[in-house]
């Protein structure tokens, strides 16, 4: 399995994702500079958190034009997983790869805390190791994590099981407490919480580990099925 972590100017959770995948889970992992075109090699692409291009204008607005984004679209079209965490999620919505948008937290403040999340759908590349309805605790750190989407799309998302994580105590005003979603095909995933920050006992909590283990499991399954 080979993971590629995209580095945009201003990414800063790239090293955190790398650490978990490479050091904690022993996966083959590489950083991918934002102007890279060839990402054929990678089984899974991670768009990490941070402040790509300073998050100026809107979070993720400028990063969507990076060269690598075109390749990511191709990668995704093949059904390979693309995971956007925090700023990565914002980039995916800006790029139109995921529905909805992320706007300022309802309290207008940046929030760094640990959020309780409910697993809403276990049949996805990032949740298959969790139990349905399981409550996990994952750090959040964002100023614009308030998910908005129009009613029709929301209904459609519900119908297709596209809501993956919801907040138990909504911190930011997200519609129907949404913390993470996916596309209809379930291979493009975006979430505001940071599972990479909850993957080592030393940091107080390992609830995020199953997120990454799910991906590995999913990829291995896929390969053993000859896909």
């Amino acid at each position: 399995m080979k993971f590629g972590i995209i580095v945009f100017p201003g990414s800063n959770c790239d090293i955190d994702c790398y650490h978990v995948l490479k050091e904690v889970l022993n996966q083959e992992t590489e950083y991918v500079w934002h102007d890279t075109e060839d990402i054929e090699d990678f089984d899974c692409i991670v768009l990490p958190g941070g402040f790509s291009y300073g998050d100026y204008l809107r979070c993720g607005a400028v990063a969507q034009f990076s060269k690598v984004m075109d390749s990511i679209k191709v990668h995704a079209a093949k059904g390979k997983p693309v995971i956007g965490i925090c700023n990565g999620f914002q980039i995916l919505t800006e790029a139109g790869l995921l529905p909805g948008a992320l706007v300022r937290n309802a309290n207008l403040k940046f929030i760094c805390d640990i959020a309780a999340l409910k697993i809403e759908n276990t049949e996805t590349p990032v949740t298959n190791c969790y139990e349905a309805g399981e409550i996990i605790h994952i750090p959040i750190a964002h100023g614009e994590g308030n998910y908005v989407v129009d009613e029709d799309t929301l209904e459609d998302m519900k119908a297709h099981g596209q809501i993956l994580f919801t907040y138990v105590n909504n911190p930011n005003g997200s519609i129907v407490d949404i913390a993470g979603v996916c596309n209809k095909e379930k291979n493009i995933i975006g979430l505001m919480p940071h599972p990479e920050r909850a993957s080592e006992a030393l940091l107080g909590n390992t609830d995020g580990l199953k997120f990454f283990q799910s991906i590995i499991h999913h990829l291995e399954e896929g390969f053993s099925n000859g896909k």
């Binding site: 204008l57 607005a61 909805g100 948008a101 207008l108 308030n146 908005v148």
Partner: protein, 79 residues
Amino acid sequence: MKAKVYVTLKKSIADPQGTAIKGALHKSGYNNVEDVRIGKLIELDLGEITKEAAEEQLKVMCEKLLANTVIESYQYEII
């Protein structure tokens, strides 16, 4: 050619910042204020191009970058 672009949140999207400012204005005694919405004003200097070219560029810039049309509307003005 210079231009101004106005980006505003769509009506259906809540504007917590606007609401907060409305609250602050009420607290300062402006109880008449019924609504406040916060948008962006983007001033561009497009250099030496024709009005038509400017018009064309602005439309694409707005659609692709300056506004997120999922949540925002835009207007522009060439000056």
